[in-house]
Symmetry: C2
Subunit: 179 residues, 2 copies
DNA sequence: GACGACATGTAATGGGTTACATGATTCC
DNA sequence: GGAATCATGTAACCCATTACATGTCGTC
């Protein structure tokens, strides 16, 4: 059985939401999934190509007089089957991200406490901003009709909120400790 | 000014702790820094080579009759200067990790709730285990003499604990929601 | 003598970002 | 007319993992 990267499954899966094009997928991930997933066009378009070649999705080129080249894709039956299968596979990767703030903190010494604190303050600010963004997203999600993607969206959003809140808390405590 | 990856700086920086060899660095990262950093030999040895070439560290080959080839490295003055400089640079990357559990949750539907819950339960178990490991590490760190690395180690460990605790909490709440 | 930990290193491969190239449409 | 957004795509590069190759040392 051919294996695909999680990124390719993400592309395949996003086509089951209201996304139809590569551009849609990019936007969706950047806005709604950014707290736990990211992607670039350099992955999306080659993935779409591969999925078409393997018969998991179908490409629908624009016909008629429209000028904007908007290439829409839909899942084939095999595509739907494979996605479902992948969703049920046990997850292997629970690894933690590389965190440059922590690396610097770990390697820094007392002499540099001032800049270290500044870095952590910036980290805190970034997380605090994220938290505010999540509130906005939650608000707009709650006005949407109740669909599976709304429900799932709220659950994954909670994850982002919990993480950011925990990070802000850690920043505060750590800055206090460093002083 | 030549630029190095954060991984190369990690290697450089780890040599300021009690680590002397590539093997030491690998062990140290795997045991003490694994909650926010990871590395492979395929990065460590080439990094060490590069750092030697650029005069940031010095290589000390084993002399005499010892059979085990243990290659020790020490920072040069330039190395120390560059590390210090890097530690004070503003951090740019605060990005969130790719999380396969969340991706699956987001893409799954009600039909698959049972397996989704199982996946989240496994996620919870993994994080809970991590939490226990952190407690052990904390215990052993607290018996060590009070050094800068002990202090920093405890602070970064707190980060790991906070994250794992938040994830366990999220898992519990999400499983409850899904039921 | 076999196994696990110690120890160094490379090559193939895979995964991902960035920069670039191109062009339409919308709105000020 | 210019800027922002919509929209597709590729090539060069960078980063990282995995598998492999090799050998020592201690201990059960």
């Amino acid at each position: 059985m051919k294996r695909y990267s999680a990124t390719t499954y993400a592309v395949l899966g996003l086509l089951t939401t209201h996304c139809r094009t590569g551009y849609d997928i990019k936007r969706m991930i950047d806005t709604s999934l950014s707290h736990f997933w990211k992607i670039s066009y350099g992955q999306i378009y080659p993935s779409l190509k591969l999925l078409v070649e393997d018969g998991l999705i179908e490409r629908h080129d624009q016909t008629g007089s429209t000028k904007v080249e908007r290439v829409e894709y839909t899942l084939t039956n095999e595509g739907q089957k494979l996605l479902k299968q992948w969703l049920q596979e046990p997850v292997e990767k629970f690894s933690n991200e590389k965190n440059e703030v922590l690396l610097r903190l770990f390697l820094s010494d007392e002499e540099q406490t001032t800049t270290t604190i500044q870095q952590i303050e910036k980290y805190r600010a970034v997380q605090y901003e994220k938290l505010e963004t999540y509130e906005l997203i939650e608000h707009s999600l709650r006005t949407e009709p109740v669909t599976i993607h709304r429900k799932r969206g709220l659950l994954t959003l909670d994850f982002g909120k919990k993480m950011s809140r925990a990070i802000v808390e850690w920043c505060d405590e750590t800055i206090a400790q460093l002083r």
